[in-house]
């Protein structure tokens, strides 16, 4: 009979051995008949509400491709890692994907910081990486030509928001409120101001807050004390904060339309904001609803069948499109050589994604895409417009 101590030691040894085995890539799935696509995502931690849907979308697309016979008879093996919203884990996973799993291409993440932690390691190895949702248009120039975005850059969505405000809402003056604690919200605010003032609009006041703040009284009272009232408010916010902001704004009697970026694209806007969310507009990647285009409707139903929940946000659709985009490039490359796959991704022209068609102009890593504007009326989302901005600020 073994005593408790020995039992624990043996158990730990077996677990450690199994863990190391899987860590070193001794997984039993045969590697010869599959094509590997690396998929590091922050499934747990601060970014899970965006990354988990994106990963689910990617898994759905891979399953559809495999059910239809794969690529040239080979099935796709999505090599998934949870990177825990931690830059150290992201760097370890990057070398694991390249060293142990030897993936020829990878996709992942919905935020710029994570891509910046992983990107240089992939760039050094010459392996292409496509991010479904990190919207900083500076990423390819910061890291290199192996980095691609499957979504539009923040400069494009900010320009679309500005154009929508001028054309549809007929507004000339704006009040700009931004969260100064993240790369995304500060860049978005900067691009918005550039494009709004480019032809005639005027930002008459600015104010800051920090993600996680629970009271916006100071910002609201400053806004209400202004002698010249703005026509519209542009609020550059993260998903967790926007519901609370609109609620406090409306309670304080601020009635102007509120406009923002794809950070609003979460169920939290209406569930927290309630009636206060009415007359809010935001730019995002696609209008995910049963009343949208047939392709999105099909995705909507398939996602619901696979995961028992409707797509949480547009990142689910972006994950779906990114997996499809990479599969398309592998097919065109006709090879599993990372350099050939990179060139095939760069040459992508009019890939019919459900979030819009994707083309990389002159092989640059940021695609040209149309921007979807969504509005809230009677606590329900509706398609307010599709915008292709005429002026786009430089990244």
């Amino acid at each position: 009979m073994i005593d408790r101590r020995q039992f624990i030691i043996r158990g730990a040894t077996v677990a450690a051995g199994a863990g190391l085995a899987s860590g070193l890539g001794l997984r039993t799935a045969s590697a010869a008949d599959t094509i590997k696509i690396g998929a590091p995502f922050n499934v747990t931690g601060a970014l899970s509400s965006l990354d988990a849907p994106a990963l689910n979308g990617a898994k759905l697309k891979v399953k559809e491709i495999n059910d239809a016979g794969g690529i040239g008879g080979k099935k796709i093996d999505l090599v998934i890692y949870d990177t825990k919203s931690d830059p150290t884990v992201i760097a370890s996973v990057a070398s694991q994907l390249l060293g142990s799993d030897k993936v020829p291409v990878a996709m992942g993440f919905t935020d710029s910081d994570s891509v910046l932690s992983l990107g240089p390691i992939f760039q050094q190895a010459g392996v292409p990486f496509v991010t479904p949702g990190a919207t900083s248009p500076k990423l390819p120039s910061q890291i290199g030509n192996d980095i691609f975005l499957a979504c539009f850059g923040d400069n494009v969505q900010a320009a679309a928001g500005a154009q929508f405000i001028k054309d549809k809402l007929k507004a000339k003056t704006a009040y700009l409120l931004r969260d100064n604690s993240t790369e995304y919200t500060t860049l978005l605010a900067k691009y918005f101001e550039e494009s709004f003032t480019h032809d005639g609009g005027k930002v008459i006041a600015r104010n800051d807050y920090k993600s996680g703040d629970k009271s916006f009284t100071a910002q609201i009272s400053k806004l209400k004390a202004m002698s010249e009232k703005p026509d519209v408010l542009y609020i550059s916010a993260m998903p967790d904060d926007i519901g609370l902001i609109v609620k406090q704004m409306r309670q304080a009697g601020v009635t102007q339309p509120i406009v923002g970026g794809d950070g609003y694209d979460t169920p939290l806007l209406i569930s927290v904001g309630g009636k206060a969310a009415n007359d809010t507009y935001y730019s995002t990647h696609a209008f995910i609803s049963e009343e949208s285009t047939p392709a999105i409707d099909k995705f909507y139903k398939a996602y619901k069948a696979a995961y028992g929940t409707v797509p949480e946000n547009a990142f689910a659709a972006l994950g779906y499109d990114t997996a499809g985009l990479i599969a398309d490039a592998i097919k065109r490359a006709g090879s599993e050589d990372p350099a050939k796959i990179r060139d095939a991704i760069a040459a992508t022209k009019d890939y019919p994604g459900i979030t819009g068609s994707i083309t990389y102009p002159d092989g640059q890593g940021v695609p040209q895409k149309t921007v979807t504007m969504i509005g809230v009326k009677d606590e329900k989302l509706f398609l307010a417009g599709e915008v292709t901005p005429s002026f786009i600020p430089k990244p």
Binding site: S22, A91, S92, S112, S117
Partner: protein
């Protein structure tokens, strides 16, 4: 010294043998295992530097500081600003003062500068804070961490604010990390087990008795705090040059708690405890992280359970705290002398 005293030549031989072993591992490892495991070892070396230097203040002098990661952040940003190539400085930090923007330091001077800046900062911050004890010093140093975070976010001319500080050259290689770890552990051990280091434990065990024999508390605590901060800055520089891109959020509460748990698990009053804690927590979390992806062992198929590793790790911490409240090592040391000579009776306690 709590380990048995060795005669000087024997001690030097053992130290030399350890150095040769470390050098051999450093040179051989990249050829034996893949890049992923090398990276795990680099992270372990950096964490050993940070946890051991944290242990000097938190364990040996008993001043439980939660502000250590504040110094790590200052170290990472200081060395990052100093070593960023000049062209990148113009692109990323256009508002940097001219005298900072016009030059770029190599890795080693930038790292030492980071350590010195942190030591100077620790002298200023520690002078009032090291007068506190118990919970008060923990809360006050936590306040220091929060202040560092807020300053980093708002000093955007120097740090790009909350946005990612990118473009730092990826220079933390295995020899650098190992080398700094050996330097850190040697220096810390020499200090902690010198007559001067005995004062650390005296002020921890009985401040009143210490004062009665003419030992003033503040300089003792402050010196441990400053030395700890120097190596926190060095570790921060290594970490920054390992990641290449970081933001103020990288150096905040989650990292603080990771380091504190490594220290507490290993044993707070022990340098080898710090090493053990780091190795144990890192290896366990890496193993669990690979296990939670699901396993296919032919007969048994375990589906992926993301997040399970954090739960198991948390459970382990609880168990260690129940069965070994003073950590695995307590305040004992594994010293090379153990292999050469039996412990003389009556040496400790």
């Amino acid at each position: 010294m709590s380990g048995p005293a060795l005669s000087r030549p024997a001690g030097l031989i053992v130290f030399g043998a350890v150095l040769i072993l470390v050098a051999a591992v450093t040179l051989a490892l990249p050829h034996m295992v893949n890049n992923y495991l090398v990276r795990v070892v680099i992270v372990m070396c950096i964490d050993v530097i940070l946890v051991a230097s944290m242990g000097l203040g938190n364990g040996f002098t008993g001043v439980f500081s939660l502000g250590h990661v504040g110094f790590v952040a200052v170290g990472a940003y200081t060395s990052g600003i100093l070593s960023l190539p000049v062209t990148m400085k113009h692109a990323f930090l256009p508002d940097l003062p001219h005298w900072l923007a016009s030059f770029s330091l190599p890795f080693l001077p930038a790292t030492i500068a980071a350590g010195l800046v942190c030591a100077a900062l620790a002298a200023v911050v520690g002078a009032p804070l090291m007068r506190l004890s118990g919970y008060f010093v923990s809360v006050a140093t936590l306040g220091f961490l929060i202040i560092v975070n807020v300053v980093l976010i708002n000093a955007s001319d120097f740090t790009r604010g909350a946005r990612t500080f990118a473009g730092v050259p990826l220079q933390t290689t295995l020899p650098w990390a190992m080398g700094w770890m050996v330097v850190t552990l040697t220096v810390l051990a020499r200090i902690a087990y010198s007559p001067f280091g005995r004062r650390f434990r005296v002020v921890r065990e009985d401040p009143i008795a210490a004062r009665a024999v003419g030992l003033s508390i503040l300089p003792v605590r402050l010196s441990a705090f400053i030395v700890g901060a120097f190596f926190a800055g060095v570790g921060g520089s290594l970490y920054g040059h390992y990641l290449g891109a970081f933001s103020p959020a990288s150096f905040y509460l989650p990292y603080t708690f990771a380091l504190v748990s490594m220290l507490v698990i290993g044993g707070m009053g022990s340098i080898s405890g710090a090493v053990l804690g780091v190795v144990l927590v890192t290896v366990t979390s890496e193993v669990l992280r690979n296990l939670e992806r699901g396993l296919d062992l032919g007969v048994i198929h375990i589906p992926p359970l993301y997040g399970a590793s954090q739960i198991v790790l948390g459970m382990m911490f609880i168990l260690v705290m129940i069965f070994r409240p003073s950590g695995l090592m307590g305040d004992r040391e594994v010293s090379p002398g153990l292999f050469l000579r039996r412990k003389p009776t009556g040496e400790r306690e």
